[in-house]
Symmetry: C2
Subunit: 413 residues, 2 copies
């Protein structure tokens, strides 16, 4: 894309009320627009990143057999009353509620266990209909009291939530391990695998622990204890002597870190299937409740975490896998038509090959172009100027500043 | 996909309270789940259709230079008060509203002119920043008094809305014609081009008319007057003697039809840019308001219209372009392992070639399989049975029942 045609502009300052680094950088780069505290819209560059994250997650969910669907935001009270999550103390702070004409209360879903369990009950009757898993990407709404973490804790945010439906605990346990692997793949692929830990966290009636995926960052709100040699991490919330004994760990030998929760996986068991009547007939003809699991990743949370973890003082540093563009061609022709033509030609040739290229064809000073390029954080910057030729273009790697010399032919691969 | 693994099932009856044909068929086929009146969730088959419609619209919006983004559902009052659409009589019935802790009112967007105009104002200052257009696919919410048209009139529905930002009336007029062509392409590509008419409808302060795209259907809520020879249609709302004179038409010579509005395009002029401060400096340095247009298509409305228009007494008839799958292999082996193997092999070979195939590998009676296949409405049904061979497979075209004989090699192309 030609930067002269991209409608968004970079800006020097983020809004004064924005305290989160991720949102400051994303707003300054023209990736997102702040609607209000905790509510951000995605501008074209931001949507490109978001779609790449979505694509990676979709591939991993499909790889474990997940069937994609899309559930509604608006909720009636029926199924939520059945699970005591409509007006209980636990959730009354979280809901945004509204009303139909006539006064019926509706809620804006902050999660989707209830509607999905209810819908699935229409399609499951026999053990032959199980197991399976289904997921969606959907906006969730939470009436957060404070929303100061930028796109990492939104009042409106898109989450991928996967639900598994199994006949037995063993079947759930097996799927849970597959889901855990898929989650690890996601975090590796978006570039935070080395600083993200599968972490023991509080479970429920059905299992002692759930697992969170926690990414080390000063912007984190959680604290975890890590044993790197064994690859074990524990959320401080569940760190008791009993747990330490069970896992064979000594507290003093553990490393501590502030972390951001980027995903969680949870064995629900029959917590939702029983009250909502999601039953199946087993091989002996006996009615049994379906055994469920749920598996969530917040996409904005993940995008914000990547910015928190990988940015530097100059701006964002996107990993190639989710960068809005892979290459950033910067035309430094300064009015020299021959150089301009070389930059134009390179842009067109790379684009024709299907490479993601942003082309800074704007009539602006070199310093401004470089500052913008650093702020945007595209992995490779290609400088086209009178000082170089198509045999030896200057290619700068954003992550470490390494300067490579590559010919046009090498770039066109 | 193997039908035995698809978690949704067909059903004989739609819910009793469902009166719209589109929703009855889509629920029976397992395409959608009804959450409540006017609120439907998309099950895996429904999402496949929806994504194909979305892809077609995205291609056409990109082709006219539209930049994709994604704006929030939650709205504060500021920009809507500026345009008098927060609590005016005109819109007070439409809004769903909710509250932040502390009592601040928020609304759920029923359209996005205000937030998008406000956000764009951060990025436009000079005539050099114009013209451009930007669009998104987003859920909209309308507190409809009645919602009895299935997925055609939802309380929650996804709309693609495109906004254009121009310097002058002429620039807007020119873009408007491009948008109109893109819209015609969309309706052709989803299979309703021949029954969809660009229709004169009421305009605003800025232009005498807007244009609606109206599709002939008994399920329609609008009435239009058509002159097929000239390719002109007029919504009855604007059919006055003056309009007839202006367009050179005689009322008695016009055909009338009930229609569904599947899209609309509208010259907004400066209606939103002036109150929201979206200004630019022209070449003489003078501040001018940006001249806007808006262009909407409801995706559920469009999907429901295709069902209304193209279905028959046996079920849905999808056009190839938006069908959930192109081929439906029906295994009629009835326990014959050789036939079963032939069906399996064909499914695997077609899938390996990237063809969209649903494979009815279920252990069910032929009659049930055929009824389900007709209901689902996949364009081509391939019957694999002991009565045929891989040299002459039975291929039935869903739209007209035509029976073709094709070899396995022909199918694999």
């Amino acid at each position: 894309m030609r930067q002269s045609q991209l409608f968004t502009k970079t800006r020097r300052e983020a809004p004064k009320d924005e305290v989160a680094k991720n949102a400051q950088l994303l707003i300054r780069g023209g990736y997102v627009h702040k609607e209000m505290a905790g509510v951000y819209s995605l501008l074209p560059l931001g949507l490109r990143v978001f779609k790449k994250i979505e694509h990676i997650i979709r591939e991993e969910m499909n790889a474990i057999g997940g069937q994609e669907m899309s559930f509604s935001v608006l909720q009636d009270d029926a199924s939520w009353k059945a699970t005591e999550r409509w007006d209980s103390e636990e959730v009354s702070e979280i809901w945004f509620k509204t009303k139909l004409h006539g006064g019926t209360d509706l809620g804006l879903a902050f999660t989707h266990e209830e509607p999905i369990t209810r819908a699935v009950a229409n399609h499951v009757s026999s053990y032959k209909d199980l197991p399976f898993s289904a997921y969606h990407f959907q906006s969730k709404f939470r009436n957060e009291l404070r929303a100061k973490s930028g796109i990492m804790r939104g009042r409106e945010f898109v989450m991928k939530d996967l639900y598994s439906f199994s006949r037995t605990q063993e079947e759930l346990d097996s799927f849970y391990e597959h889901a855990a692997e898929a989650y690890e793949n996601v975090f590796k692929r978006v570039g935070i695998g080395s600083v993200t830990f599968k972490t023991f966290a509080s479970g429920g009636v059905f299992s002692k622990f759930s697992h969170e995926y926690q990414t080390i960052s000063d912007a984190g709100e959680d604290l975890i204890y890590i044993d790197r040699s064994q690859g074990i991490a524990i959320n401080e919330e569940v760190l008791t002597d009993e747990v330490l004994n069970e896992l064979g760990l000594v507290k003093d030998a553990l490393e501590t870190a502030k972390t951001i929760e980027v995903g969680n996986i949870f064995k629900l068991g029959t917590k939702f299937s029983e009250p909502l009547g999601l039953m199946y007939k087993d091989e002996a003809g006996k009615e049994q409740p379906v055994v469920m699991g749920s598996y969530g990743i917040g996409l904005g949370r993940l995008m914000g975490t990547v910015v928190e973890v990988l940015s530097d003082e100059k701006g964002i540093v996107w990993p190639e896998s989710i960068a809005p563009f892979t290459y950033h061609i910067v035309d430094l022709s300064g009015g020299d038509e021959t150089v301009k033509q070389r930059a134009d030609d390179l842009y067109q040739a790379m684009t024709a090959r299907g490479v993601d290229v942003l082309y800074d064809d704007r009539d602006a000073r070199a310093g401004e172009k470089f500052a913008d390029s650093d702020l945007l954080g595209i992995p490779y910057r290609i400088v086209v100027s009178a000082k170089n030729s198509d045999d030896a273009l200057e290619v700068v790697r954003r992550s470490n500043g390494e300067v490579l010399s590559m010919s046009r032919d090498e770039l066109l691969g």
